[in-house]
Amino acid sequence: MTTMVLSGNEACVEGALRSGVRFFAGYPITPSSEIAEEMARRLPALGGKFIQMEDELASMAAVVGASLAGLKAMTATSGPGFSLMQENIGMAVMLEAPCVVVNVQRAGPSTGWATWPAQGDVMAARWGTHGDHPAIVLTPWSVKESFELTVRAVNLAERLRTPVILLSDAIIGRLREKVDLPPSVPVVDRPRPAMAPDHYRPYAGGPDGVPPMADFGTGYRWYATTTTHNERGYPVGVDAAAAEGLLKRLHSKIHDHQDEVVLTEGRWLEDSEVVVVAYGSVARSALAAVKQARSRGLKAGLLRLVTLWPFPSQLISQVAQRIRGLLVAEMNMGQMVEKVREASCGASEVWSVARFNGQYLMPEQILDKLEEVRRAWR
């Protein structure tokens, strides 16, 4: 173990490099720029490639290209850049090109308020690219977890051949904390074909829905097209069954592996009347608020979403059936609160505490809301 004081952005780079990322294409943008800077400094020495692209559209295209050529590839950006990447994130979904996109959220919309934090991209991370597609989105609450979830993002991308989004925010990206980093991490490589090139069908899913992926240039000739394709990789033409099969497999390969993908953390869930649901930097505010609430005799708990998408509906539903109220805390105008409301399905009350003025949501605001809930229940 090495003890260091690192920022969330720096820890993200450490996680990426240890899990084998050797390609980074990007365009610097506050508050994510340290990731690009550090990658530019570190990758060449490891035999990797860093390219500063002309914009975020090209960055994401380069990442997909590097992935097809066999490298573990990543980019990092923030709000406006994330919007520009959406088309090619869809390309990564359709080509099943493993890659990691880090979005260090800042206050939007548009160029917005560059240096100030927000969590306004939680729905963009799920639905930013068009069409029916699955999404894996992980959100760290600490420097240590920025490291761990980057490793996890790289591994899930490889394991399931899909883009994975690490949704950080301006607080967590910039936050510096003391961390003990392990010398090595578990490393997963994408499945590669065992059959001879003549028998290779690039989009035949196999038993777990994830097709083996041949690196370009290794003798396996295959056509990478974002047009709806059959198992051989060619456009489906009029074959509706092949089109439907592709979409079902793209979804089921994520859905069937939810146990590996969906992470949450609960505290004091067993004896709570009200549970604060929070994620990313706001979960730190929520933890402090819940501790103070308990010291005042309020039966409060914390449910932290580590994976935002796929959304842990089942868990929310179970918790909602045991308690009286859920309080969703987030730095946006109330985005995940609607998913929580849907999952709780009337089994408990759902309250919201939101801050969207570029300032950190403070424990005091959550505590005040918990007191308001208590007064309402008297």
Partner: protein, 183 residues
């Protein structure tokens, strides 16, 4: 409850407040074996917009990583002295640049007026070293960090030719802090 100390270093962009926070966090986190968190808050202007570092120090893992009711504040401007002075814990240590005219600060605080920028300009020939002068003064006026830890952090983070002047800035600040304590 776990012991938690909150420090705010506040002034203008370009005064090295994020860097000062980095040095303080390294000093306490790496050389005093405490838990720390450090955050920088600033606008998009490279010069003269408000800028601050918040450093939280604890015996245990830190839940909320930003300042809620600071124990120690260094204020480089009058506005910062008034803003953060009003939010501080009673009995807290407020170090104000003495070139800033400040009245109406809470009487519940230990207030020290030290010419941070003047010391950097006159004695070190570089006003930008006022950030390290302030950290040295903080080591003299509070228990939050030892001068030696700050020196270690500076030595490992400030490269080559600038190491010695930076260490000198810490020591000048420390002496100024001791002097302010006596008077």
């Amino acid at each position: 409850m776990a012991k938690r100390t909150e420090v705010v270093l506040a002034g203008l962009a370009g005064q090295g407040l994020v860097f000062a926070g980095t040095i303080l966090a390294d000093a306490v986190g790496l050389y005093e074996d405490k838990f720390i968190s450090q955050l920088g808050f600033f606008s998009i202007s490279a010069r003269t917009g408000p800028s601050r570092s918040e450093v939280v120090i604890g015996d245990e893992e830190i839940d909320f990583p930003a300042a809620t009711q600071p124990d120690i504040v260094v204020a480089f401007t009058r506005a910062d002295a008034q803003l953060y002075g009003a939010r501080m814990r009673p009995g807290g240590v407020l170090i104000v640049d003495s070139d800033q005219e400040c009245s109406c600060l809470p009487e519940s605080l230990l207030i020290y007026r030290i010419p941070l920028v003047s010391i950097a300009r006159r004695e070190l020939g570089e006003p930008l070293l006022a950030n390290l002068v302030a950290l040295g003064a903080m080591a003299a006026l509070s228990e939050v960090v030892a001068l030696e830890s700050l020196e270690q952090a500076v030595a490992s983070r400030v490269p080559g030719a600038r190491t010695e002047t930076s260490l000198e800035a810490l020591r000048k600040g420390y002496s100024a802090g001791l002097l302010a304590k006596k008077t």
